[in-house]
Structures are given as C-alpha cells and as structure tokens.
Amino acid sequence: MDNFYKDNDDIQFQFKHLDLNRVIELKENNFSDRDLFPYAPKDVSDAKDSYEKVLEMMGELSGDFIAPRSKDVDEEGAHFENGEVRYAKGTQEAMEMLAKADVMGFTLPRKYGGLNLPVIVYVIAIELVSRADASLMNLFGLQDIADTINKFASEELKEKYLPRFSSGEVTGSMALTEPDAGSDLQNVALKATLKEDGKWYLNGVKRFITNGCAQVSVVLARSEENLKGGRGLSLFVYERDRHMKIRRIENKLGIHGSPTCELQFTNAPCELIGERKRGLSKYTMSLMNGARAAIAAQALGIAEAAYREAKKYARERVQFGKPIMDMIQVYDMLCQMQIAIEAGRTLLYETAKIVDMKEGLEKQEEAHPEDKALRDEAKRYSKYASLLTPIAKAYNTEMGNQVCYLAIQIHGGTGFMREFNVERHFRDIRITNIYEGTTQLQIVAAIGGIMSGTAFDLLKEYDSLDYSYRQDLYQKIQKARIWLEKSIQQVKTAENSSMQEYHSRRLTEMCTDIIQAYLMLKDAAHSERKKHTAEVFIEGMMPRMEASMNFILHGGESLIKNHVAILNDQN
C-alpha cells in the first residue's frame, strides 16, 4: 500500500502550515454551496480537511494504482492506428480510475459537476500523479482547458462542455502550436472563418498538440484576416468530428504515454470563446499561466521520484566496504537534490496560493466594481502571480532536470540501463523546461516584474514576518538582496540597451534565490530540520549570488561584442 501523499513528509508539512483561510473564503464565497451540494464545505476548517482527504486519496491512487503501471506505459506508449490514437493500456486504466475518483473537474464550480478546489490543491495533486507517471499528468493536468472555458466562455458553452469534463466523459487539448508558430504564437496562421450561416469554421494545421485526439479542443486561430500579429487571433472550442484529421503522432524521447498529435482542420465547425481578437492576449495567456504552474508541479513530481530512487540506491549499494551514501561526494549530491526539491516545492505552493488569491479577488471585484481597496488588492496579487508563475516554472523544471541527472550519476552505470526507473525519469523530465514556454521565455515573462520593483514589493511583505529564530540567516538574505538591487541598478543605467536581455537570466536566478531563501526561512519557524535546510540553502546561495553580481557589475560585454566572430567558426 503506497500512498504518495502520506509517505511524503515535506508535502504534508507544507500543507499543514499553509494559511489558506483567505483562499478558502474567496473560493467558497460565504459557503453558499453548502445547502446545494452535499460535498460542499460548511466552514474554513471543514474545507481544509476536505482538501487533505482528497490529497490522501490521490496519494493512494498514485502510489497503488498509477505508479505500478508507469513502466509498461513508457514501454508501450500511445498508438496511432488507422488515423486514430489509442492510449497505452495503463494510461486507459488510469483514466478510468481518475474518472471514477471524480477528479477530472478538480477546479471547476460545483454547478458543472466540479469539485471547486483551489489551484494550490490541484498542483499538489499533479505533483503526486507525476511522481507516479509523468505522462499521465499530460491528461490529468490538462484541466486548465476546461478552466479556460469556465473563465471566458458563454454560459451556453459552459453548460455544454463543462459537466462532461467533470465526469471524465471527455478530455481536452490546447491546440496552439503550429509549424511556424512555436514560441512565437503571434504567428499563428490557422484560419477561422465566420460563414453566412453565422458559424465559425477552422482550416489549417496544428502541430505538437498534446492529447490532440481529445474530444474537446481549444484552438487558437486567426479570425481577422487582415490583422497581423496577436491582435488578429481568437480562441475557439472545437468538438471532434470528421472535419479534423490526426495526421500522425510523434515519436518522442519521453512521456510516451502522452500522445503528441499533428492535426489537420478542414472546414471544422467550432464556437468562439469570449470575444474576438482577445484569443492570445487574454485567454491563451491565462490558459498558459495555469498550464505553467501545472508543468512546474509535473517537474517537481518527477524530481521527487528520481530523488527517491537515488536515495534508496545509495543506501543499498555497497562499495569499498560501505554504503555509498556514507561518502561525502554522494551525500552531498543527495542533500543538494533534497534541498533543491524543497526549495522548489515551497516556491510552487506559494505561487499557487497567490494565484488562488488573485483569482478569488478578481471574482469578487467583478461583483463589487466600486470597491477600490478590493481592486488594488486584486491588482497587487495579479502582479505577484505574473512574476511568480514563470519563476516557479523555470526553477522547478531546470531543477528537475538537474535532480534526474544526479540521480543517474548516483546509480553509476546501472542508472544508464533501461531496467532502472531513473533512466525513464531522465527522459520524461526533459520536456518540462521546453513546453508551455521554454525557460528562456519564462525569463522574458519574469524579468519585467523584477526590473519594475514588483519582486521587491513581495519581499517587503515577507519582511513583515518575525525571523528572530534565525536572525543570522535573515541578515544574509538582506545582504544578498542588496546585491540584487545593485545588479539591477547597473543594468538599468548601462549605456548598452541590450544589457537587460543579456543579464535577464542571471537577474531572474538571483531573484529566485532570494524569494526561496525567504520562504525557506519562513518554513523554518515550524521545524528544526527546516532550519538546517534553510541554512544549507542560504550558505550555498551567497557565493552564487555574489558571483552573479560581480559578473554583472564588472564583467565586460565580451560575449555580445564577440558572438558573431565566435559563431563564425573560421580561425
């Protein structure tokens, strides 16, 4: 009986100390559902108790049912036969179980059959599922599609589609990418045409579409023929019929259970979500932000799985007369992995909680547009969410890659072999820092909030807490924070205007480090062990930060000056 929630002390620790009162009050809106649905909570503590019970159930399902099937799913993969996709056996069985567990409408309102759970609970659930089978997350973790319909589509469309998502009758896909529009979605060319019958029709090709075989897809398409760029794009919901053909599925490095499809639309009827021209700027951005938090959770789950394999192996493997875990080089790696995972988790959960605050406040704001205080608060959380989401995605996916790399290293030659799970985790993790925006694009998304001061507003909020239990560590963070300020100042005042882009990755990483240092020190209030992790994290962070600052302050611009000559490999 494996339970991936109950066997994970850190997740339980985080969950226990999360202050969700405000999130719950916003989400439950005076607990108005309590008389309508037997499963709605009656107060804040009832809600938090329900969240934990759902996570326990997800932990059991992940550990007992999904994980034992993941190796076979990886080996079998999704099939493409006669123009149709068939999931691997284990994937199909797991999907049936998820539907029976009533968790396919995780965040949707109860009136559409959903559970009305906050994003914070959803990301934890995704982490549990991903630890069991990374590829299944691409089906379970695609609920942001239904969520986008819920947020922006008409009541009619919501009633048409959402209950079917909740029951697990349909799954979703987000059809955004095209051969010439990957990172640059403004280039989307697939056409949406409004015909005389008053209906929209899609024509064109989408590529690399996760679960493109889904019954319901949201499709980004050019609805305004004469309008170039993002402003000419709208978002549509399309239900599978004979007007869409799956041309092929990709043969990939990892996440084999998740089918990646190429789709050809030919006069395919569809329905407009929300308003025209807002497809990319508003709806897709919202959809992507949700999906980015989900991918961060996926990466965290894979990292957890790989770390556990490595730790188990290091404990059992005896060389030179002792378990390799007792050797400094090995336990150094293990500690780095463990701390990196905990740093990623506290960052992701903080991000998810802020996203919940933002969404809850925005909903309140709609109902009370005259309330200025509410509006300001919603705006503040919206800025924090825009800053933290790409940071959490970039950190967790890069960290996950590093953890999987080290997990193989600890296994030595054994880890290179197919028989061991770390080999699969290493392949599965590799996509996470690419899809839903590469790390490079996450940095583009995050740097604005760092340069504009949003990040420092957030740090000021953290300053209001009491850190007297480890004042020494707090002082170190303050020192590092000054280094970040100096570095930003240097970039802002530099004559060369490309300096911001050049240093954006360094600055984002410095900012990530500081936010994590605060969060880990905050966690340390509740645990002696967390004081040790915070200490090791901050000790490692200081030289990293200092080196980055020195490079920014004193480093030349040699790379920018010389890159053409270097890449022109003629001596």
């Binding site: 499963y39 179980m97 567990a101």
Partner: protein, 290 residues
Amino acid sequence: MSYKIIVLIKQVPDTQNITGNAMKDDGTVNRAALPAIFNPDDLYALEAALRIKDEHKDTRIHVITMGPPAAGKVLKESLYRGADFTVLISDRKFAAADTLATSYALKCAISKIGAFDLVFCGRQAIDGDTAQVGPQIAEKLGINQITFVSKIEHLSKKEITARRSIEGGYEIVKAPLPVLLTFTNEHYTPRPSSAKKLMTYKNANFTTEESEYDESYIENKNLIKSVQTLLWDINAIRANPSQCGLEGSPTKVKKAESVLLKSTSIKLVENNEKAISAMIRELEADHTIG
C-alpha cells in the same frame, strides 16, 4: 431492474507489511503495531457489487462489518466508493468470536435487514485466512453459495452465472437467487474513493439510535449529508448471547508461536531417480512429509 446486495467486509491488520513486533509474546497478533486496513478480497466483493450498481442504478448496496468502533473506518471507505448504507455490528459481547460465532452474528444482522438478492464476501480475510465465514453464513441463511468467484458472467433477477476459480482452471456455475458469493482478487480491480463522496461522508457518525430500518433518505439528495451510519449491538440484531463472542466460539487456540523461517544450509540433489528417492526417504524419516 434493481438488486439489493449485502456486502460483508472486515477490517484487518495489514499482514502484508509485517514488522518485527507484529506478534505479542503470548502469540497473539499485536494489532497496535499493524495498520488496520480494508481486507483486500472484500474490496473485490464491494467492487463486484458496485459494477452491478453502475449498470442498474436503482440497486442498493448495504455494507456490514463486525468489529470494534474503529472498524467504522472501513465502512466509511465503502461509502466513499459508492455503497448506500452501512451498519457496524459492535458489542463487547462479540469479542473473541471465532468463525462460528462471527457467522452467527452476521446472519442475525442480515436477517434484520430483511429480503435481499445477493450477499457478497471476500474469499478470505488476511488475518485468520480461514475462508469459513462466508460459507457458514450461507448455511445459516439457508441459501446457495458460490465460493472463489473471480467474475460474474451473467445476472438476472432469477439467477446468477459465475466463474469460480478451481485448481488448474475455472468452472462456470449457475445458481438461483438469493445467493451468497465469495470473491477472489482476480477480476474486479477496486475503484478508488470518489472525491465527492469522500467530502460528503467524511463526517458521518455511527449512532446507536434504534430507528427502524429506513431507506427513504437515499431518495432525498439534500439530506444525504446527515445520514447516520448505523451501529447495532447484540440486542439490536436479536442475537442469543450464548452463541456470540468467546462463549459461542468452540475454537480454542491451544498455542501460537512466532515462527521465523530461516534458511541454514543448502543441499544439492542430483536430478536422477535414485537421488530423489533418497531425498524423499530422508524427508519422511524426519517427518517433514508423510
């Protein structure tokens, strides 16, 4: 079409995750050291019932367990998976019951529920491993039984066709209703708890209120959260105390010991008739066999 199905379950110590202190010095099971779980085979029996309900929505599933108040946990887990009604049979007078006394108490509880179509049990519990309680209940109720069922092949209001596992294969058996079935863990992979039902029933209480058996609540969805799971004592099921608990249990444990199986040395036997015959004689001589 609908069925009334009674599922009998048991909370057992998790003997699959044995640690060093699983047995007490006196040879009895140290329940405190082992987590209490839903008996694995019983989950298959419950799943078999739930599959019938999936197909025939008006089917009602009644789950009964006998045990201490803590056993209410497995009843709640049954509600989370889709059972309609649960009863905890609990009384100090049931303590130390063997299979005979257990089957008697459960039979009394079933009789209190009244007419039914099917009774489902797990093949056996992982603590006692007797596989006797199901068959004894069928005898006491005076109905047919099919044991070791892997799968139900066909079901109608009149009769059931089931596949039962036997050594080296299976057989297909038909029986008229009402009938008792015991299930193996081969076909009916148990479903997980439903998140919605979990949140609905997590605060359900067990109450001793002697209310007459009443199903009407099921029809009223708004009331479903206030459903009280029933607790029945020895008087509630009108059981004769002399047939319950220690008093009603002819089985006496003479001695129990904790046996640690340890391999010492190995002996290679040539693969020919002479060597094998010699080995068999040796095993007979030290009473390992024969």
